[in-house]
């Protein structure tokens, strides 16, 4: 009996054990199927529910002026994204989102296509809009902090700085030129979401690398002075546009590079593309009489002429072949110095005839015309200075007074700086250094001498001649400064119209000069395009030169009379101690 009962018990135990073993085998097989054969597919499905991959970019570096004030910076701004698969009612959500974002409902609806796991609804929106969306408390809507570019000084040096797009890439100006240095590093991150839709960043989300900073040679106060004077000048004479450049002749550093009309890079799409361009660098134009500075410098440096060499100026009309060269006032015999002072075209032509095409061409090349200066700006023009072998007799004469040759504003300013810098041409500088986010210098840019163009003695002689231009009887008396010496040259260049001939009423008025005359600290160029009513550089541009020079010298603490002592005090104020 005992044996029988034991056997039955054993049988039952065996059956139960077998059943358990079979169940275990089924579970094991299912486990193998899910883990081995369907593992990858299931992992992906699961990851889709709680993981979101996105590319984020580190903060773009700041552009500073020479004293450390930010001219372009990145600020945090909310971007609105959606996870369409998490949105239950696509139609209702599109309706509500469209109302807050100010976008058509249909457009939002299309964006919320459930086939897409992630979609941007609006990048870099304003905080109030983000707040309104948060209040809706919609499931599947996310707020991601991005960096948008902000230009705190608005239109200050806008054409120089340029701007960057929504993806943090520079599109114009220095933003474009130094994009590689400025932009933060891109990184693909995985954002994890829990069952409640709360977002948290998973392990390995190291901080993003910020871009480097760019320190400019621009001084925002001098830039403001230049922009203000330029605006006044262009507005007063109804000009189309204007350019002003302030440069340190000894180093080639550009302290201000102003354009008018202004544009605001914070909302660059609201302005025409023509206003975005840094025309001082990109646009060539015929310089007119300011070119006489360099023709005369060539004539004196070669020893062919001296300031007292006299030329007969044909009483205002001089025929070369089929062409006739005119002066604005008729002159008889003039010395080379007087040719510059009264801006005689005929005198300049006669001087060029004596100098010869080859010599004139060689000196103009040495001053940097017809070639790029190498300034750190995109789209620089080389201007146009054809080979002297192609020049006719009239070409040589015309080029000597600034017709038949085209230059950029920066070339003109750099060439005048060479005269102010005792004959040494410096490479124009816009960037002083590149620093990292902690302000440590990554790369420093030192002033760079390009070549000696004329002897120190010639440069001094030219400076002396240019001082006479702003004295009584000269064309640039409106540029004379109280308490400071200055020298310069006016320019009134006819523009070429669509038919290829010189237009009668379209001029470029300019003044190119430096101050103080004996030891120049500043080279200033003012250029007004198509002024109305008056078109002479001495009337339109010279007053702006005067205003920029006076205010900048005062700002730089350069006292009147001498440039040695830099301490000054206004008489109307009390000085204690």
């Amino acid at each position: 009996m005992t044996t029988k009962a034991t056997k039955r018990t054993r049988l039952r135990a065996g059956i139960v054990g077998t059943l358990f073993l079979m169940a275990l085998a089924v579970i094991g097989a299912q486990a193998v199927r899910l883990h081995v054969f369907k593992g990858a597919w299931l992992s992906e499905r699961a990851a889709r529910e709680y993981e979101r991959a996105m590319v984020v970019q580190g903060k773009r570096g700041t552009i500073f002026d020479r004293s450390g004030s930010p001219l372009a910076m990145s600020i945090e701004s909310p971007s609105i994204a959606a996870y369409p698969r998490m949105i239950a009612d696509r139609s209702k959500a599109s309706d509500r989102l469209g109302r807050v974002l100010g976008q058509p409902r249909r457009e939002v609806y299309d964006k919320l296509n459930p086939k897409r796991s992630f979609v941007w609804l609006k990048r870099q929106t304003i905080p109030s809009q983000a707040q309104a969306l948060r209040a809706l408390d919609l499931r599947g809507i996310d707020f991601i902090t991005e960096h948008s570019r902000y230009y705190p000084n608005k239109s200050l040096a806008a054409q120089l700085l340029g701007f960057s797009g929504v993806d943090g890439h520079g599109l114009e100006g220095l933003e474009f030129q130094f994009d590689r240095d400025l932009k933060g590093h891109e990184k693909k991150i995985t954002v994890l979401k829990d069952a409640l839709g709360r977002r948290f960043e998973g392990a390995g989300s190291a901080p993003l690398t910020e871009g480097n900073n760019v320190v400019l040679t621009i001084d925002r106060t001098i830039q403001h002075i230049a922009q203000k004077a330029l605006e006044a000048s262009v507005s007063e004479y109804g000009g189309q546009s204007g350019i002003a450049i302030v440069m340190v002749p000894a180093t080639g550093e550009v302290l201000a590079l102003a354009h008018y009309p202004f544009f605001n890079p914070n909302s660059y799409r609201d302005f025409g593309r023509d206003l975005w361009r840094n025309r001082a660098i990109t646009d060539p134009f015929e310089p007119g009489s300011t070119m006489k500075i360099f023709s005369v410098a060539a004539a004196i440096d070669t020893g062919i002429c001296s300031p007292s060499t006299i030329f007969y100026c044909e009483n205002g009309e001089y025929r070369i072949g089929k062409n006739v060269v005119h002066d604005t006032k008729s002159h008889g015999w003039l010395s080379l110095q007087q040719i510059v002072k009264y801006s005689s075209n005929i005198g300049s032509v006669k001087m060029a005839e004596k100098l010869g095409a080859r010599q004139l061409h060689e000196y103009l090349r040495r001053f940097g015309f017809g070639q790029r200066s190498g300034i750190a700006c995109p789209g620089e023009t080389a201007g146009s200075l054809s080979s002297f072998k192609k020049w006719s007799a009239i070409d040589t004469g015309a080029i000597s007074f600034g017709q038949g040759v085209s230059v950029s504003a920066i070339q003109l300013a750099a060439a005048a700086s060479a005269i102010a810098n005792d004959g040494v041409l410096m490479k124009p500088m816009l960037v002083k250094a590149i620093t990292d986010r902690k302000g440590r210098t990554v790369k420093a840019f030192a002033p760079q001498a390009v070549r000696r163009v004329v002897s120190s003695h010639t440069a001094k002689t030219i400076r002396r001649i240019l001082k006479t231009v702003i004295t009584e009887g000269g064309t640039g008396t409106n540029a004379a400064l109280e308490g400071y010496s200055a020298g310069g040259k006016t320019g009134t260049a006819q523009k070429i119209d669509e038919s290829g001939t010189y237009a009668k009423n379209r001029y470029v008025a300019s003044f190119l000069g430096f101050t103080p005359a004996d030891h120049p600290e500043l080279t200033i160029l003012v250029l007004v395009d198509e002024p109305q009513g008056q078109n002479y550089g001495g009337i339109v541009a010279a007053p702006a030169f005067r205003q920029i020079a006076l205010e900048t010298l005062s700002y730089l603490n350069i006292p009147p009379g001498t440039d040695a002592d830099r301490l000054r005090v206004s008489r109307d104020n009390r000085a204690n101690g």
Partner: protein, 130 residues
């Protein structure tokens, strides 16, 4: 001397009793014929080992769950601190922008000219100190 006695005693275990213990575990906690020593049966010992192992496994499981919860909480904590840091950075940035605006030459000039009635000093109004 004592150790020697014990060794001698253990050698005196009855072989028949030993065989019985191996065959039937119900005799596990019985003392041997001399009454000097209690010997556990192997099955009982194995069960003990299993219980301990299962206990350890259970504790390990609990520990693992606790770690995961801590990890998730730490993730939320980090996220919260990151948000706080971002908010502070944003505030600093806003203050910098405001400072930059307050120091802008355009604003200073406007205040100097309109509110304070100042003008640019000309050469006669400028005195150079020796």
């Amino acid at each position: 001397m004592m150790a020697r006695t014990l060794r001698t005693t253990s050698r005196r275990v009855n072989p028949q009793a030993e065989n019985r213990r191996v065959k039937n575990s119900r005799t596990d906690n019985r003392t041997d014929s001399s009454g000097n020593r209690r010997v556990r049966a192997p099955r009982k010992a194995m069960a003990g080992v299993w219980i301990v192992l299962m206990g350890l496994f259970f504790i390990q499981g609990l520990f693992y769950v606790w770690c995961r919860v801590q990890c998730v909480n730490a993730g939320y904590g980090i996220d919260q601190e990151m948000n706080r840091r971002q908010a502070l950075q944003k505030e600093r940035s806003t203050l910098n922008i405001e400072l930059n605006w307050l120091k802008s030459p355009e604003r200073i000039e406007t205040i100097a000219r309109t509110r304070l009635g100042l003008v640019m000093p000309d050469a006669q109004q400028t005195v150079k100190l020796p």
